[in-house]
């Protein structure tokens, strides 16, 4: 189970990096989140 989860985590992370998901994270995190503030 533990090894399987490690494999899943590494696969998801690697595929996410390949798809450049981190840019979407940056795009959201670099502007004020109006929902978090309670406006949006």
């Amino acid at each position: 189970m533990k090894k399987f989860l490690w494999l899943i985590a590494i696969f998801l992370l690697a595929f996410g990096l390949y798809k450049q998901d981190y840019l979407s994270v940056l795009q959201k995190a670099a502007v004020i989140c109006l929902e978090c503030v309670g406006i949006g």
Partner: protein, 250 residues
């Protein structure tokens, strides 16, 4: 402090703890906020990167993150140090610990997807309606320093502000109420406590079954290192036979 947030590339990386990325001092991204952003808006995307990180954080640290790394956990910990009468754990608080799983499934998964299915635009429901960390760490400093944001305040901010006040007040009398009863991130990491590389372990050869560990634990643990354990280490101090220790990397 000028009512702005950090926009550097370090925000590509999710930090392990619940740390609102709209906090003016945040250098990284909140994992729950990032997860929600993939399921909100007009385009639904599978959160490969964030989910991979969340599993990895769980497998490495488990709820050690709640006990030692989460800034909102620290705030609650400090509030609990205010000398007042305290409410200790009981059968009711143990049942209440399941609420965070319901909140996680409902507000992080089902409501965003339901909104997407209903009108084609998902919403980050946990950030929008629940998260008191966002209100405290982001909303209050930003609204205080950035007058342009004040005109948009309405009923949702009022609700979130009340929820934050309630969480702060309760934290003075109840140990880490948000971590124990509401936090979906704590619920997620709790699932990995047994598997995590770092954490707490019991030497069964030394354990005499006195239950001093569970009696001295302020979380709702039924045994050492279960899903509620935040690896704070209080049980290590309480154990008369030194059977409990932090895991060592061999």
């Amino acid at each position: 402090m000028q009512g702005r947030i950090w926009q550097g590339s370090s925000k590509q990386i999710c930090v392990p703890g619940l740390n609102c990325y709209s906090c003016p001092g945040a250098l990284g991204a909140c994992p729950i906020g990032s997860l929600q952003s993939f399921m909100s808006g007009a385009v639904l995307r599978f959160p490969f990167y964030v989910l991979g990180l969340l599993i990895l954080f769980g497998l490495i640290l488990g709820r050690l993150i709640c006990g030692w790394l989460c800034p909102f956990g620290l705030i609650q910990e400090l509030l609990y140090k205010i000398p007042t009468p305290k409410f200790s754990k009981n059968a009711f608080t143990l049942k209440l610990t399941y609420l965070k799983y319901i909140i996680g499934v409902l507000f992080v998964l089902i409501i965003p997807l339901a909104f997407f299915a209903w009108n084609g635009v998902g919403i980050p429901a946990f950030c929008k309606y629940i998260c008191p960390a966002g209100t405290l760490e982001a909303a209050i400093p930003l609204i205080a320093l950035n007058p342009s944001l004040r005109s948009g305040l309405g009923i949702i901010f009022g609700w979130k502000f009340l929820l934050m006040l309630f969480t702060i007040l309760i934290s003075i009398f109840v140990y880490r109420p948000f971590c124990r009863f509401l936090c979906p991130l704590g619920a997620w990491y709790g699932l990995y406590n047994k598997l995590a590389i770092f954490g707490i372990q019991v030497d069964k050869a030394k354990c005499i079954g006195c239950d001093a560990c569970v009696r001295n634990c302020k979380m709702d643990c039924q045994k050492v290192a279960d899903r509620e354990c935040i690896n704070c280490g209080e049980c290590i101090k309480a154990c008369p036979t030194k059977a409990i220790s932090f895991k060592q990397i061999k």
